[in-house]
C-alpha cells in the first residue's frame, strides 16, 4: 500500500503499533502523536485503536511479557492447579501488573488456539505449550536469570498437529496452480457456477452460501473489488485454521486467487489473529513462493490482465474482529466495531468497495471444488450441508486434535471417536455456539441442525459446569466491543451475577433474572457477539438447572460482601484491626 502521496510505502496502523509495542514495551502518548502524524490520521483514532486491542498497552509491559490463555482447554486452570497464581508467586508479581524492575509482566488472554496442547501461553508473541508446575518452575528460573527467549529449549515452542480423521479436504492435497489452471480453461462465470452448484456454505459457522456471496460481490459496482480471508480464529476451542495455515496455506491462497478471478479483484488480505503472529514468516514465505511460480502478481499463469496479490494483516487481540464488518474496520486501521448492516461487505466492504470475506477452510474447499467439480463435493454431507467439516476437538477427551467428518455426522459418533463417550456436556461452535447434554448427542453437526465453525469443547463428568459458565461469561464481558448497551452492560452484569451465585450469594430469584438478562442481550444487541454471548447460560438453565440452583441460598442473601465493601474505607483510614471488620456471622 502507498500513502496519499503515493511515494513511501505506508505501514498498516496495527503493524506500526505492534512494532512500537515490541520495541518500547508500551505505546506512549508521544509515540501515538508521531504515528498519527506519520500516517496522517487523527490522534484520537490512534488512541482509540491502542485502547481497543488487548495486545497494545499504554503502560510498559515486562521485558518478558507472558500472557497465559484462560480458555477451558488451553487455559491456566485447565488442569488441577492455578498456573497463573503459581507463576506469579514464583516471580513475585501480580497478574496484570508489570514487576517494578520491568523484568516481567504476567497476564491472561483469551484462548490462543492451543487447545490440543494443554495449558499454554504466549511469551513475547511466541506460544509455549504443555505448561505444568514443573515447566513453570524452569520458566521462572530462566526469566529470573534473564535468559533470552530464543535460547529457551526449542521443544517448548513446537506445535504438533494431530489429525485423527481425514476426509474430503485433508485427503486430497492440492498441487499449486492446478485449481487455477482448471478455472482458466473456463471463464469466471463458469467457475462461479461450479462453486454455486457445489452448495458450499461458509465454514466460519454462519453458513452463508459461498457461491451467492461471490456472485453478489461480482455483480456489485465499485472502483475495486477485494478478497479477504478471515483467519481471526478467535472462537475458544478452535484451532483447525492454525493447522490449515501451517499445512495448507498454499491451497488457501489458491482459493483466494480463484475468488479474485471470479469477482475481479486485484488485492487480497489475510487477516491473521494476533495470537497467530508466529505463523507470519511461514505465510510470507508461502506467498513469495507463489509469486515465484507466477501464481500471484501480474498476468497470473499467463492469463493476460489477471493481476492479484495478497497481503497479511495481523490483528492485536480482539475476538470481535472475527465478525466480518469488524474485521474490515480493523483492516482499515480502526477499532473493530461492527458496522451497520445493510449494506453488507459484498457491496460495501473494505473502504466501501465490494468485498468477499470468507473463512480459511471455505477458500480451501473452493479451490478443491474448482479442481474436482461440484458433484465431487456434494457427494459428501447432507442435502442442505454439502461437503465435510474440520472439527477442533479438545477438553476432557482421550484424543484431542483435528477431525474431518462429512457434514451430518452424529455428535455421539464424534465423542466416541475422540475418547469422550461418557461426556457430561459438549459445547459445539465455540462459546458462541450451543451447550448440549447427553439427551442431544444424537443430533447431527450440519447447518440445519448443530452448526459450528469447528470448535468442540468436551466436558467430562467431574467438571464443574458453573465454573465453565463463569469462564464463558468472563470471556464475553472481556471481548464485548462496548458499542451497544445490552452487550456492553449485559455481559458484565451476567458475569457478575454468575460470580455471585458461585460465591454463595445467589437467591432463587436469580435464575429468572439470568434468563431475562440472557434474552435481552441475545435479542437487543447490535451484532453476532451479543446475539450469541448468552447462549451458554440459556442452554445451561434449560438443560442443567441444578448447576445453578444447587448454589442458591434459600433465604435472602445480600448481593455483595459487606465486609469487602469496607475495604476502601479501611485503606483510607489505614486500619485493618478486628474492629474495622464486620462480624461475619
Amino acid at each position: 500500500m502507498t500513502n496519499c502521496l503515493g511515494s513511501l510505502p505506508r505501514q498498516h496502523l496495527l503493524h506500526r503499533l505492534h512494532a512500537i509495542q515490541r520495541q518500547h514495551r508500551h505505546i506512549s502518548p508521544q509515540a501515538m502523536q508521531q504515528t498519527a502524524a506519520e500516517l496522517n490520521i487523527p490522534l484520537s483514532q490512534v488512541a482509540a485503536v491502542v485502547e481497543f486491542y488487548s495486545f497494545f498497552s499504554t503502560q510498559p509491559r515486562g521485558r518478558f511479557d507472558l500472557l497465559l490463555s484462560n480458555c477451558t482447554s488451553c487455559g491456566y486452570r485447565a488442569g488441577s492447579e492455578n498456573l497463573l497464581e503459581l507463576l506469579c508467586q514464583q516471580l513475585q508479581t501480580v497478574p496484570g501488573k508489570t514487576r517494578a524492575d520491568g523484568l516481567v509482566s504476567i497476564g491472561e488472554t483469551s484462548c490462543i488456539g492451543m487447545c490440543d496442547h494443554g495449558p499454554s501461553m504466549l511469551i513475547n508473541d511466541s506460544p509455549v505449550t504443555g505448561l505444568n508446575a514443573a515447566k513453570l518452575t524452569q520458566i521462572a528460573r530462566l526469566i529470573a536469570d534473564e535468559i533470552p527467549v530464543p535460547q529457551w529449549p526449542a521443544a517448548w515452542f513446537e506445535i504438533s498437529d494431530t489429525v485423527h480423521r481425514r476426509d474430503l479436504l485433508l485427503s486430497n492435497p492440492l498441487i499449486p496452480g492446478n485449481a487455477l489452471q482448471q478455472a482458466f480453461q473456463q471463464d469466471a462465470s463458469e467457475t462461479l457456477a461450479v462453486i454455486q452448484q457445489s452448495g458450499l456454505r461458509g465454514r466460519g459457522g454462519a453458513g452463508f452460501d459461498t457461491g451467492k456471496k461471490w456472485q453478489f460481490c461480482r455483480e456489485a459496482p465499485g472502483n475495486a473489488h477485494y478478497v479477504v480471508c478471515n483467519a481471526d480464529e478467535g472462537e475458544p476451542g478452535t484451532f483447525k485454521d492454525r493447522y490449515l495455515l501451517r499445512e495448507y496455506a498454499d491451497a488457501l491462497f489458491e482459493g483466494m486467487t480463484l475468488c479474485a478471478f471470479v469477482i475481479g479483484a486485484q488485492q487480497g488480505f489475510v487477516y491473521l489473529r494476533g495470537e497467530y503472529r508466529y505463523l507470519l514468516p511461514h505465510l510470507q514465505a508461502e506467498l513469495n513462493h507463489r509469486r515465484k511460480l507466477g501464481l500471484l502478481g501480474t498476468n497470473i499463469l499467463g492469463q493476460a490482465g489477471f493481476d492479484f496479490d495478497i497481503e497479511v494483516v495481523v490483528g492485536a487481540g480482539a475476538y470481535i474482529c472475527g465478525e466480518e464488518s469488524a474485521l474490515i474496520e480493523s483492516l482499515e486501521g480502526k477499532p473493530g466495531i461492527p458496522r451497520i448492516r445493510p449494506p453488507f461487505p459484498v457491496t460495501h466492504g473494505y473502504w466501501g468497495q465490494p468485498t468477499v470475506v470468507n473463512n480459511v477452510e471455505t477458500f480451501i474447499a473452493a479451490a478443491q471444488i474448482a479442481l474436482h467439480g461440484a458433484s465431487w463435493f456434494k457427494a459428501s454431507g447432507t442435502a442442505a450441508s454439502a461437503g465435510s467439516k474440520l472439527l477442533s476437538i479438545s477438553g476432557d477427551c482421550g484424543k484431542p486434535g483435528i477431525y474431518e467428518y462429512p457434514l451430518g455426522v452424529i455428535i455421539r459418533q464424534v465423542l466416541n471417536d475422540c475418547g469422550a463417550a461418557d461426556a457430561q456436556a459438549v459445547q459445539i461452535g465455540g462459546l458462541a455456539g450451543v451447550l448440549l447434554g447427553p439427551a442431544e448427542f444424537n443430533r447431527g453437526i450440519a447447518f440445519e441442525d448443530v452448526a459450528t465453525g469447528g470448535s468442540v469443547l468436551v466436558f467430562g463428568q467431574q467438571r464443574d459446569l458453573l465454573a465453565i459458565h463463569r469462564n464463558f461469561a468472563q470471556f464475553f464481558a472481556h471481548e464485548s466491543c462496548g458499542f451497544c448497551t445490552p452487550c456492553r452492560v449485559g455481559t458484565q452484569l451476567l458475569k457478575n451475577s454468575l460470580d455471585n451465585i458461585a460465591a454463595g450469594r445467589g437467591s432463587p430469584n436469580d435464575l429468572e433474572e439470568l434468563r431475562q438478562l440472557g434474552q435481552i442481550v441475545q435479542h437487543q444487541s447490535h451484532c453476532g457477539l451479543g446475539h450469541t454471548a448468552t447462549n451458554h447460560v440459556l442452554d445451561g438453565l434449560r438443560q442443567f438447572p441444578q448447576v445453578f440452583s444447587n448454589r442458591l441460598q434459600s433465604q435472602f442473601t445480600a448481593r455483595f460482601d459487606l465486609d469487602q465493601a469496607l475495604a476502601d474505607a479501611r485503606q483510607i483510614t489505614r486500619r485493618d484491626d478486628a474492629a474495622a471488620h464486620l462480624d461475619n456471622e
Binding site: 488512541a47 464485548s480 445490552p486 431475562q516
Partner: protein, 249 residues
C-alpha cells in the same frame, strides 16, 4: 400529489408512508409516531448503539434508526414486552454510569431521566457498577464529566460531521469504553471546541455541560417538566435544528 403507489410500512398496525432511503425511524418520526431513542438525532448519521429503538419485524429484532424501511414491513414497537425491555436497557445505562439526578445540573433537561419516566422506571434494578471516570474541567466554558456519559456517540458525530472539528472519539473496549478528546494532552482546553458548537449542546445527559449556567431555568420549568420525551423527540424531527444550522452556515 401522488396518492397511489406510495410505499408504506405498518407500525403497530398503523400504515405509514416512506420514501426510499428512509429508515424505519425516519418514517415513523415523519408520521408523528414516536419510537424511544437516545443515540439518534435527526440530521446526524444514525449509530444504533443505545438499542432503545429495537422493534420487531417478522421474527427479527432490529434497531429502527439503522434499518431501512421496506415496502410492506410489519413492525411491532409499542408493546408491554418491548417497553419492558427498553426499561431494562435504560436501567443498564443508569447503573453503568454515576447518575445522581438530584445533584445534576441536567435534571429536568436530561433525556436519560425523561426516558426513565417515559418507561415507568422506578428503580435501578441492576447492581450499580460505581465506575471511576475522569472529569475534564480544563476548558474555560465547557465541562466534561464522564461519570454521566452513556456512550451515545452524539457528540462524536456532531463534532465530526456538523462542527467539522472532530473533537471526540470513543476508545476502549466493553465496560472500559470511554469518551476521549482528540488532543495530545487529552484535554478539552486544547481543542477548538466552543460553546456554540453543536457538540457542546447535543449531549442527552449531563456529561457535557456549559459552565457558569447553573440552574438558570428553575426546576419545575425545565424541558421535561413541561413536555414528554415523545413530544420533544417528534419536534426534533419536524424542527430539524441540525439541518437549519447547516444551512445558516
Amino acid at each position: 400529489m401522488m396518492t397511489t403507489g406510495v410505499d408504506t410500512i405498518r407500525i403497530d398496525g398503523e400504515e405509514i408512508p416512506f420514501t426510499p432511503g428512509q429508515t424505519i425511524m425516519d418514517a415513523a418520526l415523519a408520521a408523528g409516531v414516536y419510537i424511544p431513542h437516545l443515540c439518534h438525532y435527526p440530521g446526524l448519521p444514525p449509530s444504533g448503539n443505545c438499542r432503545l429503538c429495537v422493534v420487531e419485524t417478522g421474527n427479527r429484532s432490529v434497531a429502527a434508526c439503522i434499518t431501512p424501511a421496506a415496502a410492506g414491513q410489519q413492525i411491532i414497537s409499542d408493546t408491554p414486552e418491548l417497553n419492558a425491555t427498553r426499561k431494562a436497557i435504560t436501567q443498564m445505562l443508569f447503573v453503568e454510569g454515576n447518575h445522581i439526578c438530584p445533584s445534576c445540573e441536567k435534571t429536568g433537561n436530561c433525556k436519560l431521566q425523561a426516558m426513565a419516566y417515559h418507561l415507568g422506571m422506578l428503580d435501578d434494578h441492576f447492581p450499580q457498577s460505581y465506575q471511576r471516570r475522569e472529569i475534564d474541567a480544563s476548558h474555560p466554558e465547557i465541562l466534561l464529566d464522564r461519570s454521566r456519559c452513556i456512550l451515545c456517540d452524539l457528540c462524536v458525530r456532531a463534532s465530526r460531521d456538523v462542527d467539522k472539528k472532530n473533537v471526540f472519539a470513543i476508545a476502549g473496549r466493553g465496560t472500559h469504553a470511554h469518551l476521549i478528546v482528540n488532543a495530545p494532552s487529552g484535554k478539552l482546553a486544547d481543542t477548538p471546541m466552543a460553546v456554540t458548537d453543536l457538540a457542546a449542546t447535543i449531549c442527552p445527559v449531563g456529561a457535557i455541560l456549559i459552565k457558569e449556567k447553573g440552574y438558570e431555568v428553575p426546576i419545575g420549568q425545565r424541558i421535561y417538566d413541561r413536555q414528554t420525551i415523545c413530544e420533544t423527540g417528534l419536534q426534533e424531527y419536524t424542527d430539524k435544528p441540525i439541518i437549519k444550522k447547516h444551512q445558516s452556515e
